[in-house]
Symmetry: C2
Subunit: 172 residues, 2 copies
DNA sequence: CCAATGTCAGGTTGACTGATATGC
DNA sequence: CGCATATCAGTCTACCTGACATTG
């Protein structure tokens, strides 16, 4: 198997544009299909680039995001449930992600002082160091968005904010 | 467990904007981080909505895309490798996806007439019917993008085309 | 012999469902 | 009691690596 998917030689045409052309011949909403397909591919690109940058630190995107969230928290710790809310991931995924981060000793579970149902996840000193170093690597890779102009980056964030809001992510 | 991730009550603030605020306090490239994070979340939204629409047909997004690709092909069939190129997925993923579609009798493997190494994947009559019906459902769900204006949909596709091109997806 | 095609075995990730123990 | 919090077991998708048989 010579090839990994990310490093294939470019196609001679834009596959999304081609799909839209064919779609419009039979169905409606070709524009929307093209946008949705583009989002899927864009995410693939970002994940590939960020994952590559994170590999030396033995972190995935999901685990990195969790680490940064804790780094940003005032106490350096958050309840499991809160993490799930903020990261928009399933409760069992939080358990899974924290399990792995804990095995790496980047976080530790500590009991909540007053509510004995909830578990606080606390970032360790080592976790902070890794998060800082990993951030440098991820920034160096520009999150895979290095080919976009500043204007495009802003436009993208702006449109996607409306999408996220429309999906009920936040009130704001 | 009361809640699935998609249907949580909205947060009181935009988590991406909040992350950017904190990010800018320590690091640079907050705009790019916000865009990358937004892409990740946007993909989650699209997948959730499309998956829901496809559930009655026992199709995943990946299998649906493969089916539509075959529907669009002139002969109703494509070599495995070509499918991987166009769908931008790993060769073993193509094997996996075709295995499942074949078990559902939506496609069948047929020998290539001249090159005995390659295997053609051919959409069946049943596959065509399912693809048509599934497309109706997916269009009814607007690919999860129903809350975006036509202008935003176009802007999004446009920016993401430049991203995909920058990532070396196509020459065009 | 070398390159291309597809498959298989085996490992990782993350997301999900349903059930459960514990505590408010 | 009902509800919330986190976990566990098990399943599923998709990805990746490395090896392999077959064919051009």
């Amino acid at each position: 198997m010579a090839d990994k998917r990310p490093e294939k030689r470019p196609l001679a045409f834009d596959p999304v544009a081609e799909a839209k052309r064919q779609w419009d011949l039979r169905w409606s909403a070709g524009e929307v299909m093209a946008a949705a397909t583009s989002i899927m591919r864009a995410q693939q690109i970002v994940v590939a680039r960020v994952s590559e940058a994170l590999r030396p630190f033995d972190l995935t995107f999901a685990r990195y995001e969790a680490l940064v969230l804790l780094l940003f928290s005032r106490q350096g710790s958050l309840p499991m449930g809160k993490m799930g809310e903020r990261l928009m991931v399933h409760p069992t995924s939080v358990t899974n992600i924290v399990d792995r981060l804990e095995a790496q000793e980047f976080v530790k579970r500590v009991p909540h002082p007053t509510d004995r149902r909830t578990i606080l996840v606390e970032i360790t000193a080592e976790g902070r160091d890794v998060a800082e170093a990993a951030t440098e690597a991820v920034e160096a890779a520009s999150f895979g968005l290095d080919t976009l102009s500043d204007g495009d980056v802003k436009r993208l964030t702006d449109v996607l904010r409306r999408l996220r809001k429309g999906a009920g992510d936040f009130d704001d």
